[in-house]
């Protein structure tokens, strides 16, 4: 991915030298044409065309913001309820992600989801131990949410 971006910037510079005009506007025009060239030659690269990956990163960012707001509403409800009748607990969740940065992002996302907080990660990086605020209604729903998170992260790293 980094290689494709560097190549695109390089092509934009070549465009600037061809036009003999050195301003940001020419750079962006060259960047756009470089983007078209990279898209045409995308099957010669090992990884995917990098714009798809940037779209996936932006999607992940919006998931982050949405979960942060939803989790705040959930915590607000628990705190302002007159009776303390939640059932907290710690459960284990297996994960398929391999690299350290993927697991870090997944753990951050889970910590910001409604009613869950990561306590520990097993030494072999295969299980996350999660403290849930309300374990009964949470577990199924949370597992499905997490599948979508894992998919979104894999979309970025694939």
């Amino acid at each position: 991915m980094a290689f494709q971006i560097l190549l695109n910037i390089f092509l934009a510079f070549i465009w600037m030298f061809l036009k003999a005009a050195y301003d940001p506007m020419t750079f962006f025009v060259g960047y756009f044409f470089g983007l078209l060239i990279l898209f045409t030659f995308r099957r010669f690269f090992n990884s995917r065309f990098y714009l798809f990956r940037i779209v996936a990163v932006i999607k992940l960012f919006f998931i982050f913001i949405r979960e942060l707001i939803l989790s705040n509403i959930a915590v607000l409800k628990v705190i302002l309820k007159p009776k303390l009748d939640m059932k907290p607990g710690i459960f284990a969740m297996p994960t398929e992600l391999k690299k350290d940065w993927e697991i870090t992002i997944l753990a951050n996302l889970i910590t910001l989801t409604p009613g869950t907080l990561v306590i520990d990660i097993s030494p072999d990086n295969k299980t996350l131990y999660i403290h849930a605020m309300d374990i009964e209604d949470a577990e199924d729903a949370i597992n499905s949410i997490k599948n979508s998170f894992e998919k979104a992260i894999m979309e970025v790293s694939r």
């Binding site: 982050f64 942060l68 915590v75 705190i79 607990g89 459960f91 910590t111 907080l117 306590i119 403290h131």
Partner: protein, 111 residues
């Protein structure tokens, strides 16, 4: 716009404080502290940024950086606090139902 963001942020921080007083054990308190405080501080900073940007036309990039840093670091801080609490033997609330981390902790302490 900017004012309402600041009011929301202050309200969320207040709720987080209530949560820390009211909830029964370390882990549930950590839920309140690490989530509501994050969004509270973030929206106060965003409100301040918008105030200076809209009324005085001053683009303060430090506030944006501050939002980014709080957003990245506070979930990690919550995780580390609760992990340290668990391994130094702080008990869960008595009404807690499930504890899958016990076996791993035993293994950890044997070594």
């Amino acid at each position: 716009m900017a004012g309402s963001l600041i009011v929301i942020g202050v309200f969320l921080s207040l709720i987080a404080t209530f949560g820390v007083i009211r909830l029964p054990d370390v882990y549930t308190r950590n839920h309140a502290a690490s989530k509501s405080a994050t969004l509270g501080v973030m929206s106060v900073l965003l409100g301040t940024f918008l105030y200076f940007f809209l009324t005085e036309g001053h683009f303060n990039s430090r506030l944006i950086l501050g939002i980014g840093f709080v957003f990245l670091t506070s979930p990690v801080a919550g995780h580390l606090l609760s992990r340290a609490a668990y391994y130094s033997g702080v008990k869960l609330w008595d009404k807690s139902v499930q504890d899958d981390l016990k076996e791993q902790k035993k293994k950890f302490s044997k070594r």
